[in-house]
């Protein structure tokens, strides 16, 4: 475990370097002079040089990078936006992150809470109608991209509201009701994957010798499934949490932009359109680092849950 943690720590350092450096390079390779874009028709040389200095763009590239990373680590300072009169990027991210976190983590939790029971149910009804139906539904749910699902779900919701049935708000952020549809749509693909994964491993697990032993002891089916088979069958699901989080990130970009949620994905896409590269850089780095850390956490959790894994 110690060796594993040390090795993962060095891997983490490399990945963090790669993410920050690549993002920084892309932000700075962007076509056009950002200061001229800010100034537009108000261009005058003195202001131009003052702003260049303010954003640190008059320094050598490598020095800018080192300073950028150092300021993030030391002061949690991601530089200043090119828009909004130079608001600190950290402030913009600070208001956006909680939104993304809320919908992302709720979607992940929902995916586990729905996906695992569906998978277990299908495995216990293997090759019966219940299994076939639920797995076919999951295959469809998995294959349909979120932005195809959104019009369907929102369309039904609009129909409900037009016919004066209870319905949910379809845009903006602030109330619990407004979060329901985005979270549902975001979690759909992950629910389906987790359900299918759980079914596969559960079916394998129910064939194991220790299950036969448990059955021979006369335990109830319920105890066998929930008490003996479920825990080892969940290990692959834990392994999948890492990739699931990565997939949810792209999902939040789509969902936030369609439902107008003021999260990181929304901020990032808006900033790309207004060429506000410091915000784009900051958003990319924060999101990537969070995902990297969560991956590490899932890896450690996996090892804690399965003591058989040794170096």
């Amino acid at each position: 475990m110690i060796v594993f943690l040390i090795r993962r720590f060095f891997g983490l350092i490399f990945v963090l370097f790669a993410v920050t450096f690549l993002t920084f390079l892309i932000g700075h390779a962007a076509p056009g002079d950002p200061i001229q874009i800010i100034l537009g028709f108000h261009y005058d040389p003195a202001t131009y040089h003052r702003l260049r200095h303010f954003y640190g763009l008059d320094q050598p590239l490598l020095q800018q990078y080192v300073q950028y990373v150092w300021y993030i680590i030391r002061y949690w300072n991601f530089g200043y936006s090119y828009q909004y009169g130079g608001r600190p990027v950290a402030t913009i991210l600070g208001t956006a992150l909680p939104v993304t976190f809320t919908i992302g983590l709720s979607a992940l939790a929902l995916a586990v809470v729905i996906g695992v029971p569906v998978g277990v149910y299908a495995a216990t009804k293997r090759n019966q109608t219940g299994d076939r139906l639920s797995m076919a539904a999951m295959l469809v749910l998995y294959s349909v991209p979120s932005f195809v699902l959104i019009p369907l779900v929102v369309g039904v919701d609009i129909w409900l509201s037009q016919h004066r049935y209870p319905s949910l708000p379809v845009a903006n952020w602030g109330t619990v009701q407004q979060a329901v549809l985005p979270i549902l749509v975001l979690s759909a693909g992950t629910i389906a994957y987790i359900a299918r994964l759980t079914r596969t491993t559960m079916v394998g697990m129910l064939r194991e010798d220790f299950i036969r032993t448990a059955r021979a002891k006369g335990l109830t089916r319920r105890r066998i499934v929930l008490g003996h088979a479920l825990r080892p069958a969940l290990l692959p699901v834990v392994t999948f949490l890492g990739p699931a989080i990565a997939g949810l990130v792209t999902g939040t970009f789509v969902v936030e932009n369609i439902f107008n949620l003021p999260g990181v994905g929304f901020a990032a896409v808006q900033s790309i359109e207004s060429r506000d590269y410091p915000v784009v850089q900051g958003a990319t780095i924060v999101v990537a680092v969070i995902v990297v850390l969560m991956n590490l956490l899932a890896d450690i959790l996996y090892r804690v849950l399965d003591p058989r894994i040794q170096e």
Binding site: G27, I158, G247, F253, V254, I272, T284
Partner: protein, 312 residues
Amino acid sequence: MSAIESAPEASGPDFGNAPAGRSRRRLIWLAFAGNRAALVGLGGLVVLIVAAIVGPMVYTQSAAAADIFSLNPDSWPAPSHLLGTDKDGIDILARLLTGLRVSLGVALFVELLNVLIGVPIGLAAGYFGGPIDFALSRIADALFAFPGLLLAILVAGVFGQGLGDTWGGLGRLALVTASLALVSWPLMARYVRAEVLSLRERDYVEAARAIGASTPRIMLIHIAPNVVGLVLTASTLDMASQVVNEATLSLLGLGVQPPHASIGLMISNAIGVLNINWTESFFPGLALTMMVLCFSFVGDGLRDALDPRSLR
């Protein structure tokens, strides 16, 4: 990513197992044709590809401009506009057909790039190991550190801003293709590397080496042909994801720009008028889902058919 448990299985060379009178190719086809989902997928793909190529020539409504003599936004399917019109009064079927071209074209070119970049690098890394392998793994780690499409979003977004309408929108498409390939070739390289690691230890490779075959000859004649099945399967399965990825970029406004058509763009425009006409988002969504399912079915069929264990 494209289908459940989709990592292509190792398919090694398989000599002398074919019953008399049946070539390996024929056995593969029989295995593929015995899979109903794969056949349906193949049929669906043929229909979609023909529609994408021939469709815009046959169906002559404009995909970029409204019919100014009968301006009719958000209209329902009717004989004049078979799938109705969008909020700008532009024919949806015409846009859908050009959108299919974009989806299929981008997916195809992304896979071409993946094969051109990923396969040679995977071959070299797997065969030589050592520093080449180390360098490949680090580059792949660096690119994989970005979750999902994040790096592609960044590249397509940042460089797309200065691109405008270069080459009548083709510049944007090339950028989308390049940024999607950038984040997906390492996976291809990893598959090939893993396969080559096992292939290079086989007896027949040892034998080739013993009779004095040169390294390029062993790699090209003895090893490369045996990863073709893997590459074909992985590419087909990956195309399902690339179709969605292109639509995602366009939906976020980072890919194809109006007035050019893309399925992602159509859906993002149609969601705003969902309360007026739901068919506007339904048909592009259906087409996209069909593409995803067809590529997944064909990919799954290829995987099962090319797996040598199922040939016995």
